[in-house]
Every structure is written in structure tokens, then in C-alpha cells.
Symmetry: C3
Subunit: 305 residues, 3 copies
């Protein structure tokens, strides 16, 4: 089994074999991620992080991953305090930080930013979210969470809920789910349904999927419930938002006693009640943890010895 990607830009660059390689390696990384084993594999190596948009989970879990591997990190978590304030363009800043480090992780509000940088620097580039575009390490940790929790990725049915129109997390995820023939149900208000070009792609790939506008019917035959945040700003009329909001809020009673795995890329605002956290179904904090071994696997695969 081998891994042939030099950069991690889009999940659509991955073969099924590439995905399985990362998931398998992540499993080996878990004891180090849990701090049960010490690793010096990346001793002396530096990861450059360039976050032009705020992030807690993604940035800190990449930093955690690199440090658990024995390496270290430089970079910035926001534009402030950097030369971006002096008018420096992304291209120049990336050229510089690439000179200092062994790999770059980039989050930028412009779609295509990470690919553009990857084409122009001499170190591997990892896309940590480019506007409405891709966020491949999130997709891999989502898949890993499902696999670790269910044992495998076969014969599954997953419901994706919330803002399916603008949410880059779900856009990346559906292509990976398609790769493993996982059946999908898209649950969203009409105005936030999955974009038609993705629906077309899935149709061409012969995927099994359905579209719904209500959350709570027929949850019984679902294996995984993947909730996402609905952002108020997406609605021109705040009243429209309030009407929709209640219908996409999950309560304890909705899944208590079922086998459904409840996931969420986080941050949540109020789409999952806090008392859901105590249920065994609630996997979202665990899911966040799995970001560490998955990102360790990614870093270990792209950073040269």
C-alpha cells in the first residue's frame, strides 16, 4: 500500500487507496495522539501554518499533530501582527514561509488559494479550507470517525443535515462517501439544499441518495446523523431563519436509545441541545479528537524524512 499525493488540496485528488492508506495510518497514530507513546519521528521538522480565517479545531489539531510527531510549528492564526497588514499578498507570504518550513497548512477565504500556492512552492501544501471550496483533512477525519465507531465503512446510510448549500464540510464529504458506496440522505430547507452540480456528479457516479426537508421522520434506519450549523447570515429575512432553525435542532429524545452515531464538524451554535452531549450517540467531541491521528497520518505522509 502506498500514498502518492504530494499535496493535500481536495478529497477529489484521492484514490480510494489513498484514503484507505491515511485511515490505516491514523489508527497506528492513535496511541501517540492519546499521549500513551512518545514519538520523535519529525524531530527538527517545522510545519508552517497560515490561517487567514479564524479557526480553533483545525489549526490547533494540526499543531497538536505536528508536535505529537516530535516536530514543531511556526506561522500565524490570524492576519493581524503579520505583513499582510502591510499589503503583502498571499503568494509572497507563502513563498517566505515555505523557505522556513517543511510543509504548509493554509486556510484562506479565496477558493483555489491552496492549489495556487501548492503550484508555486517547493514544500507540500495542505488545504485547511479555501472559502466555499475544499477541506480534505476534515473529510478524512469524518470518514475515520465513522470507520472507528462502526468498525468499517460498508452498508451504511448517512443523513447530512443543515446548510448543505454553503457548507464546505459536506461538499467534500459526499465525494468521499460516494467512493465507499455509502447511501446518503440530504436533509435541508429548500433554500439550503445540496448544489445541483454536486447532485449531478453523484448521479453520474450512480450513488444512492435522497433529498428531504424535514429532520425527524424515519431516523430509525439511519446509521450516521451528520449535523451542520445553519448560519443566520444566509437568510435575507431573519424570520425565515427562525422558522427553519427549530426544525433543524436536535433534542435528546430524538436519538436516545437508538444506535445512530451523531456527528458535527463543530462549532455548533444551537443545533444540538447540550443535554445530548451525555448520550453515547454523541460522537462530535471524539470526532474532534480523531482529527489529531488523521492529521498526524497526513503530515507523516507528505513531509519528507
Amino acid at each position: 500500500m502506498s500514498f502518492n499525493l504530494e499535496n493535500i488540496i481536495s478529497i477529489r485528488d484521492f484514490s480510494k487507496n489513498d484514503v484507505e492508506y491515511i485511515l490505516k495510518k491514523a489508527e497506528k497514530m492513535e496511541p501517540i495522539a492519546r499521549s500513551e507513546k512518545v514519538c520523535h519521528e519529525k524531530d527538527g521538522k517545522l510545519l508552517g501554518v497560515m490561517f487567514y480565517e479564524p479557526s480553533t479545531r483545525t489549526r490547533l489539531s494540526f499543531e497538536t499533530a505536528m508536535k505529537r510527531l516530535g516536530g514543531d510549528v511556526i506561522g500565524f492564526g490570524q492576519k493581524q501582527g503579520t505583513s499582510v497588514q502591510k499589503g503583502e499578498v498571499l503568494y509572497d507570504t507563502a513563498q517566505i514561509i515555505a523557505q522556513y518550513t517543511d510543509a504548509l497548512v493554509i486556510r484562506h477565504d479565496m477558493e483555489g488559494a491552496a492549489r495556487f500556492i501548492a503550484d508555486n512552492v517547493d514544500v507540500p501544501v495542505i488545504n485547511a479550507g479555501d472559502g466555499a471550496g475544499q477541506h480534505p483533512s476534515q473529510t478524512l477525519l469524518d470518514l475515520y470517525t465513522i470507520k472507528r465507531t462502526r468498525g468499517n465503512l460498508n452498508n451504511l446510510k448517512i443523513a447530512l443535515v443543515g446548510d448543505l448549500k454553503y457548507g464546505r464540510t459536506v461538499h467534500s464529504l459526499v465525494y468521499a462517501l460516494a467512493m465507499f458506496n455509502i447511501e446518503m440522505i440530504f436533509i435541508a430547507p429548500e433554500e439550503l439544499q445540496m448544489p445541483s452540480e454536486i447532485i449531478n456528479d453523484l448521479t453520474k457516479m450512480n450513488c444512492k441518495f435522497t433529498q428531504k426537508s424535514t429532520l425527524l421522520d424515519n431516523l430509525d434506519d439511519i446509521d450516521v446523523l451528520y449535523m451542520t450549523r445553519i448560519q443566520k447570515e444566509r437568510f435575507p429575512d431573519p424570520k425565515e431563519y427562525l422558522k427553519v432553525k427549530g426544525q433543524y435542532t436536535l433534542k435528546k429524545s430524538n436519538i436516545e436509545g437508538t444506535d445512530i452515531i451523531l456527528m458535527h464538524p463543530l462549532p455548533r451554535v444551537d443545533e444540538i441541545d447540550f443535554d445530548v452531549d451525555s448520550l453515547d450517540n454523541a460522537m462530535y467531541f471524539k470526532q474532534a479528537f480523531y482529527g489529531v491521528p488523521v492529521r498526524m497520518a497526513i503530515l507523516d505522509s507528505v513531509i519528507k524524512k
Copy 2:
């Protein structure tokens, strides 16, 4: 001698034995804190720092402590650039960072925040200040400074000066001083005197203490002078502040030639003249240094192997 606390939330959770354990361990940590010895004890371990309020000393000395122990740090020093901006609550952010790390250090403006988090995560939590509440590592370094400078904590008389009403540093400190039967003098303007519930507690504990409103009488029989900052914002009328300010400003002539140890939790604004710095009495920068071995002792005690 053993240490039994899992979390460091309030000095009032400490037995006298717990305090002595930390003070003793801090002494062993000093050569490492001074960079005379290299330590790899916490190799591979990660400390999560979550600072919702600005800090230089506390945050950087925890980071220094963890790094001198051979470990590393992730987290944030301000809300900006994190998912707090997207509306994420403290509880969720803490759950996440707890998944990534081996211990958390939290500063938050809400009293009780650290205790609440400690009750809900799987790693040790250290309170680095919760609003007007507790700041136990500051108290331990204050005690350590006195002990290191005087040789022991017996038969001492300490004057606490400045804003005794709102200053969380002195609120924590008096309970620790009471533990060691240290005599206290509370010197503050009427409107900033020690809160009555603390006075009641000290009375019940049979502590020796007195209250005064002028700084400069009878300084001779005092062993330690502990100054704190008086914040202008505490006074409804700026004129009241200006009246009080002068009376609580320390000049070189006030303590030159005495044996009094002058302490301050810092930052100072103008309550200690700069030319005091050159006196042997001035211990506040040394006191800041002692924060490192004391926090090393704390981290070493709560982070599991």
C-alpha cells in the same frame, strides 16, 4: 509527602501539606527554570492554554514552565482568531482542547469557569484567574517568594496594600497566609478594603490581622510589603481616585535601608516608583521569575506520566 489534587482551582482546596509539597518541588525545579539543567520529563506532553483575558506573566510563565519541562504548548492568548468569534461557548472549546492535550490552563472573566470545566473534561485543569475569583498559582508563587527570600514562613508580618476589594490576587493570598499563621495588615482606602466575608473567614480562623487606611506609618515592623495596583475605573469620581492615588504610591525613601521585602503581582502602573527597582528590597521581578519553578511544580504534579 504526597500531592492529591487533580485540578488546581482554588487555594482553598489545598491542605497545608499540598502547599508545602508544591513549594518543596519548586525548589528542585529552579536549576531547570534557570536553564542550568535540561529536563525531558514532559517530552511528548502538551499543555492547552485558553486565555480569554489578556495576560503576559501568567500565560508566558506557564508556557515557559511547560517548555522547560521538555513539553510543548498549544492554545490561544486571546479570543481573536478562534471559534469563539463564531459563537462557540467555553464548554465546547474546552472539550475540544482537552481532547488534544494533557492538561488545560484557563483564564476566563466568569467566576467559577475553571471549576465548571474541570468537572466536565478528562484532563487536569489549572485556574489561571476566573474574574474576581481565584488565581491559585499566583498565590503559590507569592508564598514561594516569601519562603525563598526569608528562608521560612514562620513569625512573619505582611502588609497587603492597594485594591483589597477587587484584587483577586490578595483574596487568594490571605487564605494561604492564614494557613501559615502569618500576621496581616490590610492597608487600603475605605472604599477598597478587604470584603467583609473574607474578614469574617479570617476571624473564624483566629488569624491575626489589622486594617489601616494609611500606607506609611509603622512600616518598620513589617517583613513583607505586598503592593497591588489601584485601578482608576473602580472610582465613580476621578477626583476620588487622584486623592487616593498619591497615598498609595511607594517611593525609594520609604523602604531604603530597611529589611522589608517589597512584592507586587505586576503589572504595576505607577504605584511603585521606578527608582525603587534598584533596591535590594525590590523583589517583584524575582517574584515573576519564581512563577516559573512554581508552575513547573504544579504541571509536574498534575500531568500524568
Copy 3:
């Protein structure tokens, strides 16, 4: 060969021997800076960074240098989130961070800030830019870039272009160039020419230099073209800026096919066209990389074992 400076404040404190010592040591550091070799020389050591002004290159390359040497870093990249917000003065903040670390790197908007701190703390201090004053590590990396690219520093002719009046980079650089008898041409609009006190110094030192106001005449006999940014804010009338701007913008055709080495301290805004980047002449990103081995050499020289 030995190095006798305790602090790195101004290039004018350096003897020619001190400069050559750093340039030689930087060459040995290169394989570590390139991540071809792992170094543990500064294991357990901490560098304190205090940046009161924004920076990407300088701060991150110092951090990179310290981490590549096996050490670690604490500090801040901007005032926000520190006690500076509570009114703490530079002196106090520096005293504290000096207590925690083995050396300080300071950038401050006040000329003389780094020297003042060096006189008052017990650890080595490195000036990373003090207002319109000095920035010695930039000068050393500029020299190193020329030496590495040309093989030596003999018989060279360099043109310094752009804002020569306010640019601290060029102010530091000319004194170092003078040390090596490098011939200089100062190319700037009248109002941004080299200050007369520097011109006087160079005259006293018997340096060969000329002053010009147009960029593109007689580029042929120049070995190094050192461009700097012209800041719009320097011109009272924006029209004056626009008039000047075009004349100091470098195009691909201006140097393609020549042996001229093109340098820039970065960030550039628009004084070098992006298509110049692909030319072999373009050394500015390499120059940024050379900041790492040069700063490694500096840190290794001033931080005690």
C-alpha cells in the same frame, strides 16, 4: 576567530571580524536550516520574542532559527492579548520575559528601545528593528546573500533603490557595505534620498558612492540591485507619489539576461513585477531563506551554553 558582542543592537557595534564570524558560522548552519540535518544544540533553551510592531519574516525567521537549533520560543507578535493593554511599560515587560528566557528579540517603534533594554536585563538582547533606527540581523542576512551568491564581497558595486530616507534597512546596510569597501549608488527621488548625516559618515570613511534620481540608466555595471518599498504615506501629495512610483518599478525586461542580483528586504508592494520572480536574478525569496542560517548563527553566538 572569535565573537565578542553580548548584544546585537546595531551593525555599527560590529567589527569587520565580528561580521565575518557570523557569515562564516551561517554557512555551517545552512544544512540544518534546510532540514537536512537535525540539531539539538539549544535543547532546553528559550528565546523570548517581543514584537510591538507587525512582522512576518523577522519574527518567524527568528522562531524558525531557534527551533531548528533545537530550542523553543515564547513571547508575543503583537501588543494585543498582553499586559501592554493594561498599561505596562516596555521596561517592565522586558524585565519579566528576560526572567523566563535565555535571550530576547525586540522590535519596537521607539528608536533606542533595544539598547535601553539591553542595558537593563541579564540576558542577551537582539534588536529586530527600533523605529527608524537599526535592524542588524537584516543587514547581516543581506551581506550573507551577496556573499553566498557572488562567492565573496570583493570589488562589488551595489545600487540601493527606493526610500533611502526613512528605510532603516538601507541605513544599517550602508555601514556594513562601507566596511567591505563596496561601491554604492543611491537611487531615489530627491525627497527620499539618503540622509545627509549618513552621507557625511560615508564621506569621512572614504567610501565610493554616487547619488542618482533615475533607476534605469547604466544598470549594466551594477552587481547588486537592492530595491526597497516606497511608502505612499511618505508623500504629502498622492500625485507626487504616483509620479515617482512608476520610475521605481522594476520590470522583467530591465534585468533579464544580465548578471545583476536583485534583492529586496520584503514585503514588496508593487515595486517589482511578479513576472520578475521567475528570473535567476531574483534573489529576494532566497534572501529571506538566508535569514534563517544567519539568525541561527546570531542566536548560537549570543546564547550561553
